[in-house]
Assembly symmetry: C2
Homo-oligomer: 236 residues x 2
């Protein structure tokens, strides 16, 4: 019987399948069992260099998504139990999530359960979507003394304007939940922005800084984000 191996929470990174780290890819290659959180994670995994071999050891899990987390929590309880059983048998298990596992990924609830139960885990970080979106657009995100604010919920347009007026670069994740507020700010104010839709999905990806293009996107899909900042000259 093999010694217990840490249960790996593996981040896929963003933008292209090859944005996965060597460390994360190595975990997947050595894994006896791979659990993919959602179809998007599975699609990226299957597009990796040894994707078809990886996909054969992979189960796709669809976590119940709703603001009431009771169902999801119960799902994660069961998954944690299963992972610890397999760990006890000496198997290497990886749970795979898109983007970065520490950045708005629901896999954190699974990590909580595993930690509480005393299981040995390893968090393998990845490139978050907002980092990848700026790079894909060919731009940097923050420099010198600038600040970056990452929001997953926006309450009002004045909240956004206040941060932007301080010179803060603002990222809005889960954009579909507050599309109207962001649309209002982009329509009325003179900010630079990068809008990313389905980043990393070759069939659906849209990356734009054009005001009219952004304003015409209705509805905004779930896989979208925007980076907004006060205009700056390129030579700053």
């Amino acid at each position: 019987m093999k010694a217990p191996q840490p249960i790996a929470i593996v981040s896929l990174g963003a933008a292209t399948p090859e944005d996965i780290s060597i460390r994360a890819y190595g975990k997947l290659q050595k894994a006896d069992e791979i659990y993919c959180l959602g179809e998007a994670a599975h699609r990226i995994l299957a597009a990796l260099p040894e994707g078809s071999a990886l996909a054969q050891r992979c189960q796709i899990l669809e976590i119940p998504m709703s603001s009431d987390r009771t169902e999801a929590i119960s799902y994660y309880e069961q998954l944690a139990t299963r992972l610890m059983e397999q760990q006890g048998r000496g198997l290497a298990c990886s749970v795979v999530t898109i983007g970065d596992a520490g950045t708005y990924a629901t896999v954190q609830y699974l990590a909580d359960r595993l930690r509480q139960a005393g299981a040995k885990i390893e968090i393998v970080p990845g490139i978050p979507y907002y980092i990848a979106a700026a790079a894909a657009f060919g731009e940097g995100l923050v420099r010198q003394d600038e600040s970056l604010l990452v929001l997953s919920k926006v309450f009002s347009s004045s909240q956004l304007r206040e941060e932007l007026s301080k010179g803060v670069t603002v990222v809005v994740m889960k954009l579909s939940r507050c599309a109207d507020i962001v649309r209002e700010v982009i329509a009325e104010d003179n900010y630079d922005f990068i809008y990313a839709e389905h980043l990393g999905n070759p069939d659906l990806e849209l990356l734009t800084s054009d005001r009219d293009t952004f304003l015409s996107r209705q509805p905004i899909p779930y896989f979208s984000l925007i980076i907004i900042r006060p205009s700056r000259s390129i030579s700053k």
Copy 2:
């Protein structure tokens, strides 16, 4: 003569050399010339699987660092000219930086010059240090409706307390520049934190959430950061 290839601005990622993405690693393997920005970048590059071969094609550049950027800008002008000459000869050139190229990396000034001159470039993103620090500590950074604020300059302890009182998770980069302010907040208030020093450097790395350990670190080195957040129960 080969067609011009994009000049690649390549991020190494953080925490371990294997945190580099497959895409970034592939760029380095195919590069005719590699320019490393700083000794830290070169050390990470040399520790990669094919590091010794990569290091042979690598030049270490030491960019003049001071708040007066005149010298650095002139340095980047010369480097941009050199890179475009090599690109014109059909060579593939990579400029390598630690962490993520879009996150407080001075390589952005080089990218500005190249863009202004109309050169074809490609920004290859990486895992920023604050993302890697949370994962190395075995924790997530943000979840659900939480916000993340990344600062590279802190003006006062009240600025920090105001953000934390709103429930915002605050990352302070370039911590050595505002160590006294952060020390005051950590000493007096009841916040959770993760402090990372020399992350990814096996000889020097320190990763702690212990108050006394952090408060005794004097001076705080240049390669350090802290993640501070209001206490939350693990089961939230």
